[in-house]
């Protein structure tokens, strides 16, 4: 999704001719995806973690879960917050002021105001939270332990180690597999009367009932992540739709549409960005194809997770953390 190198007119013409012939620079067809490599459970200190790589793009995602009080306006729901961090090598464009650079590089994610590129990663976090965790994909009520008192605060931290196109897709894949890898510990909350009696002793300060946590992973309940969608980004290059773009293709893409698709092919969110405008018929066609591609992606992801689940401890030790 992010590319700094502005292509020369010669490269741009060669690439666009390729797209017109349906044969891209690395031999893929317009609809073909580069294979993703997915690993889960690589950070034991976290509640759930995953790493997604696809030919240059490298995303690490970790989920930490802790107990807190539910928000005031939604007393019966838990809280999920998504936070994106970029390693310095990825966000050098930060110092290019305003949106002019994004015009040249056709990046998803809107203008960047400040110098250090935080604005961009903060915006990405908010976009991912909006696209992949809408109410219909994740029932936050399931995260509430006891209304008004305790609820799970889920922190999803995504670290972008290297960006070579398709960053939003890789991040959504990493987030989904990390949340699928997360288990919520089983918690038993003290009964109601213990709560009352402690309250009067402290006067105004309303304390919380005691709770104890069963640490054993086997005792916990898996995080309700089966309905979380996966993002599929399509670029419009000389009025052809190109899927899973490399960074070169992204700098030639006039407009980009990102569709979030859940496991039974339902489009859960759609976001258009990029410089040019697109016509409605094109958009509807993209929605249809996105459904198909999304389902395929999630099915393959589930299969890979299942395979990983079995051989998990063995594979990781032998290869080492940063294995190829």
């Amino acid at each position: 999704m992010l590319s700094q190198s502005t292509l020369s007119p010669a490269e741009r013409r060669f690439l666009e001719d390729g797209v017109r012939q349906g044969f891209r620079n690395d031999g893929r067809g317009l609809l073909d995806y580069r294979p993703y490599t997915v690993e889960t459970g690589i950070l034991p200190s976290t509640s759930g973690s995953s790493r997604v790589r696809s030919f240059g793009t490298d995303v690490l995602c970790a989920v930490k879960v802790d107990m807190g009080s539910p928000p005031a306006d939604k007393p019966d729901e838990g809280v999920v917050s998504v936070n994106v961090e970029c390693s310095a090598s990825v966000a050098p464009h930060g110092e290019l002021e305003g949106g002019s650079s994004s015009r040249a590089t056709g990046r998803v994610g809107g203008g960047r105001r400040d110098d250090s590129g935080e604005g961009w990663s903060a915006y990405l976090g908010a976009l991912l939270d909006d696209l992949c965790l809408p109410p219909c994909a994740l029932d936050k009520k399931a995260l509430c332990v006891s209304p008004h008192v305790y609820a799970w605060h889920v922190n999803v931290d995504i670290l972008l180690l290297n960006a070579a196109g398709g960053v939003l897709d890789a991040m959504s894949l990493a987030m989904r597999s990390a949340l699928r890898d997360t288990t919520l510990p089983s918690v038993s909350v003290g009964s109601r009367d213990e709560w009352e009696e402690e309250d009067t002793a402290d006067g105004v300060q309303q304390s919380k009932p005691p709770f104890d946590v069963d640490e054993r992973p086997t005792a916990g309940t898996p995080f309700p992540a089966q309905d979380i969608p996966v993002c599929v980004t399509v670029g419009q290059v000389c009025s052809h739709y190109v899927w899973d773009m490399s960074s070169e293709e992204e700098s030639c893409a006039e407009a980009q549409v990102t569709v979030a698709v859940d496991r039974n092919g339902r489009c859960v969110a759609v976001h258009k960005s990029g410089m040019a405008s697109i016509d409605p018929t094109g958009l509807l066609q993209v929605l249809k194809d996105a459904g198909r591609v999304g389902v395929e992606l999630i099915k393959k992801l589930e299969a890979a997770m299942a395979k990983l689940g079995t051989g998990q401890p063995v594979v990781r030790e032998r290869l080492g953390f940063m294995a190829a």
Binding site: T6, G99, S101, S102, D130, K272
Partner: protein, 273 residues
């Protein structure tokens, strides 16, 4: 939030929003397709190069354009200008005084991407165009209100643009009636309606910005479970209708403002000798 903070109930507590089918009205008397009445005015801020005020229902947005002017930063590849949008919620805009920083940043990210494609930035080499937008009151539909305010302000400032682009917000919901699963299409929710339906997840929302003379989509953001092609087609059709209506109003408003400034100017000499 341990101690519950006291919040005075707003004087006219609107009755809980109800969903109705067909012609029956919504809680504030509008049918499902009705858009709240719109008011717009150009040039409220004299010091800015161009400015505009846009009101839809009770939601009010005020936008001002400064520049193009010398770009401060060392942008090497500055063959084209830059658009720098700054959006603020007035402290009194929202009932609870929560910090709106995150929401502001999110809206800025959305808006700046759209306006870089609308304003012909390659005609403003080495300069930056600063656009500020203040939300005076938030009664739902803030994103499209700000979008329209900025679009009108940019046109009034005389910035070169590809088109008059207007935005609107549309929603659809599956309401189980006795006969069958019935999908209801609503446009332009108020804050109360948004609070009631959007956060509970039954409602699919879609914000669309359409170039009014060519009907292509410049801006699109939607979330919700009913984004399948059929519903999307319905939503886009309605969005086009509403956006074109707003666009027509904007063009009339701009022409009136231009004519007024001509009549005011004593000798009507052509600008360039």
């Amino acid at each position: 939030m341990d101690a519950a903070t006291y919040r005075p109930l707003p004087p006219d507590v609107p009755p809980a929003p109800t969903v109705s089918f067909g012609a029956a009205e919504r809680s504030d008397g509008r049918t499902n397709e009705d858009v709240r009445d719109i008011e717009m005015q150009t040039g409220p801020i004299s010091s800015a190069v161009g400015s505009a005020f846009f009101q839809i229902g009770k939601t009010k947005a005020l936008s001002a354009v400064y520049g193009p002017r010398q770009s401060m930063r060392q942008a090497r590849t500055s063959s084209s200008g830059a658009v720098n949008i700054d959006l603020k919620f007035a402290p009194f805009a929202v009932p609870s005084r929560t910090s709106m920083a995150e929401r502001e940043r999110y809206l800025v990210g959305m808006l700046s991407e759209a306006f870089e494609s609308i304003i012909l930035v390659e005609r403003y080499a080495k300069s930056v165009i600063d656009i500020t937008c203040i939300v005076l009151e938030d009664d739902g539909g803030v994103l499209s209100a700000c979008f329209n305010a900025i679009s009108l302000a940019a046109a009034h400032a005389g910035l070169e643009m590809t088109d008059i682009v207007t935005a609107t917000s549309l929603y659809c919901m599956e309401v189980p009636s006795d006969t069958s699963q019935n999908v209801v299409y609503l446009s332009d929710l108020t804050a109360a309606e948004e609070a009631c339906w959007l956060s509970s997840g039954q409602c699919t929302e879609m914000h669309v910005g359409i170039a009014t003379s060519g009907s292509s989509i410049c801006f699109l953001h939607g979330t919700g479970s009913l984004l399948n092609p059929t519903c999307a087609e319905q939503l886009l059709g309605r969005a086009e209708e509403i956006c074109r209506a707003i666009g027509k109003e904007m063009r009339a408003c701009l022409k009136a403002a231009y004519a007024a400034s001509q009549n005011a100017a004593p000798a009507k000499t052509t600008a360039t000798e």
